[in-house]
Amino acid sequence: MGNVRQSTLEALTRLRCSIFQTTYNPTRIRTGAKYLRARLRGPSMVKYYPPALNISAIARQYPALGIVDEKEQQRFQDIIDRKKRGKGAPKKLKKNEDGKRAQKKR
């Protein structure tokens, strides 16, 4: 075995590569082929969350059906109730009006 020439071994490797359809790469250089060979992961990643039924979107698209989003209705009702009790969101400031914080800073 020790008497086998280097060139013979090389030729054998090359032949083996051609037979088994692998790339002849004696110096084992990194070719980056694995990044091209790997399957794309994006399409399956996007599918992870299955689509849910969006009632408000359907109601918006087809107003003729008269679908009512009960959750949204309840939310509006809650806002009205809160306003009645004086617990609503504060009024938005107009552009030139100064808020309390702005006055304090001076």
Partner: protein, 103 residues
């Protein structure tokens, strides 16, 4: 859109979409960057280009979250549910082939 969505779920969906859109370009740059038979300057340029891609284009940013609650830990990926939701759904008989075992 999952049944329950908070900011983290929406961020995750954004990441998933970003990965899908940018995957081909990223792969091409990765190939050039990791290919040792190409000149070092070209590889470096490719690496610099890779660095310009945003945070939400990397596959490692994507994390499986619970479809029902948006929880990020203790997820059974096959069902896209966290462990508690998995138990509840399984007990309710909503998961095909899942049965409570006792021994």
């Amino acid at each position: 859109m999952p049944a329950y969505s908070n900011a983290r779920v929406i961020r995750d969906m954004k990441a998933r979409n970003g990965v899908r859109v940018n995957e081909l370009a990223r792969r091409a740059y990765l190939y050039v960057s990791r290919n040792q038979s190409l000149p070092a300057q070209v590889r470096h340029q490719a690496q610099l280009q890779l660095n310009t891609f945003g945070k939400y284009t990397r596959p490692s940013t994507v994390k499986n979250r619970c479809y029902e609650t948006g929880r990020g830990r203790g997820i059974m990926s096959e069902f896209a549910l966290c462990r508690f939701q998995f138990r509840q759904q399984a007990l309710a008989g909503n998961l095909n082939g899942v049965k409570k075992a006792s021994w």
